[in-house]
Amino acid sequence: MNAAAAPADAPSSVSGPVRPGPPLWLLLELTYRCPLHCAFCYNPTDFARSGPELDTQEWIKVLREGRALGAVQLGLSGGEPLARDDLEILVAEAHELGFYINLITSGVGLTEPRIRALKEAGLDHIQLSFQDSTRQMNDFLSSTRTFDLKSKVAALIKRYEYPMVLNVVLHRLNIDHVEEILEMAHRMGADYVELANTQFYGWAWHNREQLMPSRAQVERAEEATRRYRERTDRAMRIFFVVPDYFERRPKPCMNGLGSIFLTVTPDGTALPCHAARMLPGLSFPNVKSASLEHVWFESQGFNHFRGNDWMKEPCRSCPEKVRDFGGCRCQAYLLTGDAANADPVCDLSPHHHLVTEATARAVQAPARAGESPGSAVEKPLIFRSPANSSNLFP
């Protein structure tokens, strides 16, 4: 008996049409309502014209169908999922079904009665977002006054014996604070810290120019993270998510569209990634009228980018396509206008200059820690809000 723990039962090679495995990751964006107004939010900028939210019974149907398909990791996100007053009901149902349940939250609304009820309902994990290590920057970046409240929530999460996972989105205005952010996380007793460099979709795409760090900033942040790891006991695990604009190969986005990930938007639209709704030529069913089984196996929107047949050069003949799947379809679309192009993060892409030009522009207006927020650039940040969404998409 060989007691190794390597992933077993690797699928044998198949030819012909791609038959996907189960959607192991199910992410429910329960609502677009959110007390924060983060300028780097990945939610679509046109969310204000989204249809009405699914009701409790409709979400329960999604949970049951997803679990029957083999989904096991469940993300409850938004917007702010705590804005739904049926969150405890959904968590209880998901727990009964055998999901591992992750709540992805700003912490706003996580009172002691609610965390107690969520714990009793079977919530497994809470990921708490912070915008910065300082009250001033946190509150500026989320356009709210929430820093003290978040600190209290962090203490609640510890008291209810959840693993403490802090997520901090990095960008030009806070990336120079990495060391302070790690110290704050340590003081709060964090078990994991995700330093997630901004990915440029949704509101972050709209604010890309103001949020893009310079290469020097990214290198300093990586160095600060390395130094911090060296001088601490490693009890706190740190994940530094490298900003892909500074890479030469694209990220294996979603492990390929329609491979393991399925997300449902507040109005019930099923998508193979958070941002895929923007992709032209794809149709995505609504879970109110279609079963998740149909969505996953049959729908045009989920099948279109499976396998390799959709690829163009240089991806089509590239040996690395099995590793990165050509990168991100949404990034290819946003930057080049064609979702079937190689992700221009790849330096083999004929459009790679679009990425290097965007990062080079960031060098010309470097932000400095201590400078008053937003003063480094003339164009103002557009914060995520229903009013700004309506203004952008009248």
Binding site: A3, P7, A8, D9, L69, G70, Q73, Y100, P163
Partner: protein
């Protein structure tokens, strides 16, 4: 940090959950935003790590279930690795 011995009683580590997944025909270890799919040997060992059974008892149970013998070295090596990765804790 406790030493691993034949009398250790390993249990699934804090923050991890062991679960049988029919859709994957495998035991999986679930943790915040992640999953490890276990091969059958790893799954069979971990499902016996209930905090009550000793390494010796786990070994005996496996040897009986699979009509074999001499598994103790493998079990200890696996549990040591699993402990290192925090998949199990040793009380």
């Amino acid at each position: 940090m406790n030493e691993l011995s034949a009398q250790s009683r390993p249990s699934i580590g804090r923050g991890f959950r062991l679960q049988w997944e029919a859709a994957q025909n495998a035991f999986v270890l679930l943790y915040p935003e992640g999953m490890i799919k276990l091969n059958s040997s790893a799954g069979e060992i971990l499902r016996r790590c209930d905090g009550a059974a000793t390494i010796d008892e786990i070994t005996a149970s496996l040897e009986q279930a699979f009509s074999t013998s001499g598994l103790k070295t493998d079990v200890i090596a696996f549990v040591a690795m699993a402990h290192e990765k925090h998949w199990v804790s040793l009380p």
